[in-house]
């Protein structure tokens, strides 16, 4: 019985299943907003806490989770869940209020109060509590110190600090120039661009969901799934050789996973036409990769234009693609920057699913000049 449960959890933590469950779960929670209630939060955290505590009896789970430097990840899991719930809960409550004709809570409490004592005491209390937490944490748990550095002996797995493991996880799907350089840059630029792209004047200064649905869904998908989930699974579920291991699995250094990944060019030339890949020189390389180049070009440069068209120009079934109202509302510059950043962000899940479904390695591959997408 317990073994069956463990097998089930191991299976469900696999990159494919976990990512899909988390994404669908998040989308469902946006659709059925009553799940952000106090009762469901209590149930959710009770289940999570029981799962976590009970799992400590499993030696493999304990080994990974109780590593001193992995403690923050447990913190991330509980805190990020809690504060996401807390924000959404207040947002939904405000939405109910405004639907019922009352003002949002933040507006009701508009009167000015003395900062001493109302705020200063809260801050003092926060400082005292936090100091206690830090002191207890530091007394109970020694900071890790491994063997002295030895440049000749690389550990397996070699992991970046935990907050960069989302980027390291991206290395599975993209080359380092994208995962390690371009995407981090785009994350920073994209975050800074948010206030200039988002022209929705509503929801400034109070929690709400209804008035800012698109913004919140996109941001939380990025933050919760593409960042936090990848950090957590990169820490807990990636073992030697960056192979996946379920939470109750032993990190076996000798496990080999076959890599049968193929490129778009292989699909086109070898599988479809039954020919060898074109070789020799620059133009042969271009010819080899023409389909991939076309696909990436269409995704980055044609799709944004197509998406700006009004609904009528789309065949039935594809009407959801139309972002014409955003184009109208935001103007061309904001729209193109915003949509481009969004498509870049979505390229990560797209590449993930392409990998899982077709073993796709590169869409465009010029290994000669390290230009692989």
């Amino acid at each position: 019985m317990i073994d069956l449960f463990k097998d089930l959890v191991n299976w469900a933590s696999g990159p494919t299943v976990l990512f899909t469950i988390a994404t669908l779960g998040l989308l469902a929670a946006f659709r059925f907003t009553q799940v952000w209630s106090k009762t469901s939060a209590k149930v959710f955290f009770a289940v999570l806490a029981v799962f976590y505590t009970a799992s400590m009896w499993d030696p493999d789970f304990f080994l990974i989770v109780a590593k001193p430097d992995n403690i923050p990840i447990t913190g991330v899991i509980f805190l990020v869940f809690f504060f996401t719930w807390f924000a959404m809960h207040q947002g939904i409550r405000n939405d109910r209020r405004s639907e019922g004709g009352t003002e949002v809570l933040e507006k009701e409490e508009a009167e000015k109060v003395w900062v001493w004592p109302d705020l200063v005491y809260t801050e003092m209390l926060a400082m005292v509590l936090l100091s206690i937490v830090l002191l207890v944490w530091s007394i109970l748990l020694a900071a890790p110190l491994e063997q002295p550095a030895n440049p000749a002996d690389s550990p397996n797995p070699s992991k970046a600090p935990w907050y960069f493991l989302g980027l390291q996880e991206m290395l599975v799907y993209f080359d380092p120039w994208l995962a390690g350089v371009v995407f981090p840059t785009l994350i920073i630029v994209g975050l800074m661009a948010i206030p200039y792209i988002d022209t929705n004047p509503k929801g400034n200064g109070y929690f709400t969901f209804k008035e800012r649905k698109a913004e919140i869904v996109i941001f939380l998908f990025g933050f919760l799934i593409l960042w936090c989930l990848l950090v957590v699974s990169g820490t807990f579920l990636r073992g030697p050789n960056w192979n996946f291991f379920g939470p109750y699995e032993y990190w076996d250094v000798h496990r080999v996973e076959p890599l049968l990944n193929v490129n778009v060019s292989d699909f086109f030339w070898v599988k479809l036409l039954g020919r060898p890949l074109p070789t020799g020189g620059f133009f042969a390389a271009l010819m080899r990769e023409w389909l991939g180049i076309l696909m990436v070009g269409a995704y980055l440069f044609v799709l944004p234009v197509v998406m700006s068209w009004p609904k009528e120009r789309f065949p039935t079934g594809l009407k959801w693609l139309s972002c014409h109202h955003y184009f109208e509302k935001m103007g061309a510059t904001r729209y193109y920057i915003g949509v481009s950043l969004f498509l870049m962000m979505m390229s990560l899940p797209i590449k993930m699913y392409l990998r899982w479904a077709f073993n796709l390695k590169y869409i465009v591959a010029f290994p000669e000049i390290f230009f692989n997408i």
Binding site: E109, L119, L145, A149, D175, L191, F223, F370, F371
Partner: protein, 266 residues
């Protein structure tokens, strides 16, 4: 009974707060009247980061989660404990590891390293949560666009502070984490040896970008993680990045006030 203990205590408190020393430090009466509540906020250099009065909703814990404040407090804790660590730690391949061992084993009250490390982990999490709160209340919207941008830079600086500090214990965990992290720099387009297009940067048939001068070399000060890297990361960790962060925090807090205080509905 309780009164027997409390009465002398409160008498002593009154004695102390009426003394010349106390009144020379705090130049106003106790904050029991509204006038003094205003004075306390204005005459104290630390408290004057705050306004005298504020909208009730904006200072509620359920609105700000005090997350920015907590992040700032952690930064102060890290500055203080980091300073103490600097008394003992020497950034050389020869001594670094041994100094860390000493710190934990021979220094009285040796939890400074723990406070510093766990505090750093905590700060990374609280910055994320602060950003989440600011996003979820839409507080990046006009007129706070610029302060959100300052915040993003602070987020990056926080991660870089944590990253550079990770190397300093000079153990296996440290150098390999930095090796993995900095390997990515090798793939910088144009500027890394294994980055797209960098091979096209040539003068005649001499390639301009090689392992001795590419982006990764600039980060590490060497071809692999070594003494120059340790020194570089140490200087950045203890001087460069904290100064930059402190400077930007000053701007950040200033702008919170100048942008109209904590956000609220119009």
């Amino acid at each position: 009974m309780l009164n027997r203990i409390l009465a002398p205590l409160s008498a002593a408190w009154k004695e102390a707060t009426d003394s010349q020393v106390w009144t020379s430090i705090f130049r106003h009466g106790k904050p029991v009247s509204n006038r003094n509540r205003a004075l306390v906020m204005m005459s104290n250099v630390f408290l004057h980061l705050h306004p005298v009065k504020s909208r009730k909703a904006g200072i509620k814990l359920r609105y700000t989660w005090c997350m920015g404040g907590i992040t700032f407090f952690l930064f102060l804790v890290l500055t203080f404990t980091g300073l103490l660590l600097m008394f003992y730690y020497r950034p050389t391949v020869e001594y670094a590891y041994a100094d860390i061992v000493d710190l934990q084993e021979h220094v009285p009250l040796g939890i400074m390293r723990e406070l510093h490390r766990w505090g750093a982990h905590a700060m990374v999490i609280t910055v994320w949560l602060h950003m989440l709160r600011v996003f979820m209340t839409g507080s990046y919207k006009p007129p706070r666009e610029f302060n959100w941008g300052i915040g993003v830079v602070l987020l990056v600086l926080t991660l870089l502070l944590s990253f550079t500090g990770y190397l300093l214990p000079w153990d296996q965990l440290a150098i390999w984490a930095i090796a993995v992290g900095s390997n990515m720099a090798r793939a910088t387009p144009l500027l890394g040896t294994e980055g797209p297009l960098s091979a096209s940067l040539t003068l005649g048939d001499i390639s301009l970008i090689n392992a001795g001068n590419d982006a990764r070399f600039a980060l590490l000060g060497a071809r692999s993680v070594g003494q120059p890297t340790l020194l570089r990361f140490y200087v950045l960790h203890c001087v460069g990045l904290p100064l930059a962060a402190a400077f930007l925090m000053a701007v950040h807090f200033w702008r919170v006030r100048k942008d109209g205080g904590i956000s609220g509905p119009m």
